[in-house]
């Protein structure tokens, strides 16, 4: 088994998938805790569909000098700010708006891809992920992005906590909540675009939502939930990646299945701890 795994990562594409995917999982998990608690999880889902639309158009149109990823990034970032505004503005129903935007993007993406070269397996890997997708340049973007996310979370941890827990109090005591919301939306957009090719656009939002929800089954503090999410996310990614390689299953789907397993496991453990009446001081 161990030999198999070592052999597996001797392939350059697998090594890139491992490093890039681990970093994306880590970023997604950290951002995810804040997004889930702020009831913004649907933004992540909406963004991945926008990302699919943008990638499909970029691939179909074959725009000169721009890789599909470079084309998709600014579009998804713009969509992130738009969705954030929609969610904050109570006049427009945020959830309906997100559903509109994501289905419309999906439709436009499919149309663009089909008209360009007919519906091919390409689409399949866009939607459900491919292990081969992490290129050398993607890997560098992953590294830079995760450094930015980690710095943000270490240096602004307390501010992110305050803004997530109680935005009106944070604003009232002089924290610029709007800026932190925008930074989180921006980083989420970048994480989604980069992770999308590996995870598939239908499944990337699971990386954001699953680890946070899973960790909350057992852990009851912001700090422990954060740390647990990061660890759970990375472990699930690794197991999923190995499964995907050995059984040639779609990478995104494999990782989501492992995440689902972790969620069930944590729920059961959380339930038992509660029933046993164990005081969870440490958690």
């Amino acid at each position: 088994m161990l030999n198999e795994i070592i052999e597996m990562f001797s392939y350059p594409f697998m090594f890139r998938a491992l490093v890039g995917g681990t970093l994306v999982s880590l970023c997604a998990a950290l951002l995810g805790v804040s997004l889930v608690l702020k009831r913004y999880s649907m933004i992540g889902d909406g963004l991945s569909h926008v990302g699919f639309g943008a990638l499909a158009i970029a691939t179909a149109a074959n725009i000169a000098n721009l890789t599909p990823l470079e084309f998709a990034m600014p579009i998804v970032v713009a969509a992130a700010f738009l969705l954030l505004r929609l969610s904050e503005n109570s006049k427009i129903k945020g959830d309906a708006a997100i559903a509109l935007i994501s289905t419309a993007s999906l439709a436009i993406g499919i149309m663009a891809a089909t008209m360009a070269k007919g519906l091919q397996t390409d689409i399949n890997s866009y939607l459900f992920g491919s292990i081969l997708s992490m290129s050398q340049s993607d890997l560098w973007i992953c590294v830079v992005l995760s450094v930015v996310v980690l710095i943000l979370f270490i240096f602004f941890y307390h501010k992110i906590f305050a803004v997530t827990f109680d935005e009106s109090f944070a604003r009232a005591t002089g924290t610029k909540a709007g800026i932190y919301n925008m930074i989180i939306a921006l980083l989420t957009a970048l994480t989604i675009v980069i992770g999308m090719k590996m995870m598939g656009s239908l499944l990337i939002s699971s990386l954001i939502i699953f680890p946070a929800i899973t960790s909350m089954r057992i852990f009851k503090r912001f700090k422990t939930v954060m740390i647990s999410s990061a660890i759970v996310s990375v472990i699930c990614f690794f197991i999923g990646l190995v499964i995907s390689y050995i059984y040639s299953t779609p990478t995104g789907a494999s990782i989501v299945i492992v995440n689902l397993g972790a969620l069930i496991l944590f729920s059961v453990v959380g339930f038992i701890l509660k029933k046993a009446g164990i005081h969870q001081k440490v958690f």
């Binding site: 608690l37 702020k38 307390h158 906590f161 109090f169 009232a172 005591t173 909350m216 009851k220 969870q280």
Partner: protein, 236 residues
């Protein structure tokens, strides 16, 4: 000493005026209750006092060296908070954030101050608990401790007893009274409960759609508006 002075204040949302021509002062050590019906602009006024909404006319002036971020605030709870995974100490400590500026970590002093405020409100036994496991009254105490961390001078409370049972409500009012009387903390409280307001407050600001009342509690009870609302409540 005057802490906050409001002169001829008006607030509006997209050309609809919700509060108009409001003038009042808040002095150190006072206990001001803001009462009035739903939609009379109580929440808007609070947002204005906290600097979250700028008045369409008039001015809010902070005096006696009161900085605008030195106002403690106890907001109404959001549904998202009820099951938020946060330690009690984490929540209280976040009240110190305004004294941090750009520096990202809390100092020993911040932690000491948070602990002092926890002791002040008698919630030491909750320190290691998770916020979401607390009862409504305990949660409000934690948030009050957080507000105390943010300010030693003045606290603004937005309907702090919503959803609490009568006994816990009474305890909460006592606690706020104690902070006001013993610790000389200025209180501004938005309330639905006119009886409690008259019982505890030193001043009343009654917002109404066309006319508002501002004065001491004694003046309020004698005023036509006070007589009308107060007796109406009493008869229940």
């Amino acid at each position: 000493m005057k802490l906050i002075s409001c002169d001829n204040l008006s607030f509006s949302y997209e050309s609809t005026q919700v509060v108009k021509n409001l003038s009042f002062d808040v002095n150190e050590g006072e206990y001001l209750c803001v009462v009035g019906e739903n939609g009379s602009g109580k929440s808007t006024l609070i947002k204005g006092l906290l600097g979250l909404k700028s008045p369409s006319r008039g001015k809010i002036i902070h005096l006696s060296g009161l900085k605008s971020n030195e106002v403690g605030y106890l907001p109404q709870q959001t549904p998202a908070q009820k099951d938020f995974p946060a330690g009690v100490f984490e929540v209280v400590l976040s009240g110190r954030l305004n004294s941090r500026g750009w520096f990202p970590f809390y100092s020993k002093n911040d932690k000491k101050n948070a602990m002092e405020n926890i002791e002040r409100l008698g919630i030491q036994s909750l320190v290691h608990k998770s916020y979401r496991e607390l009862s409504g009254g305990q949660q409000q105490r934690v948030l009050l401790a957080r507000a105390l961390c943010a300010s030693k001078k003045i606290i603004i409370l937005d309907e702090p007893v919503t959803g609490l049972d009568p006994i816990v409500t009474e305890e909460m009012y006592r606690l706020i009274e104690e902070l006001n009387k013993k610790e000389k903390i200025t209180i501004i409280m938005v309330s639905h409960d006119i009886n409690a307001s008259v019982k505890y407050a030193s001043h009343i600001l009654h917002l109404n759609f066309d006319q508002s009342f501002y004065g001491t509690t004694e003046e309020y009870i004698k005023s036509p508006m006070g007589r009308y609302f107060f007796s109406e409540e009493k008869s229940f």
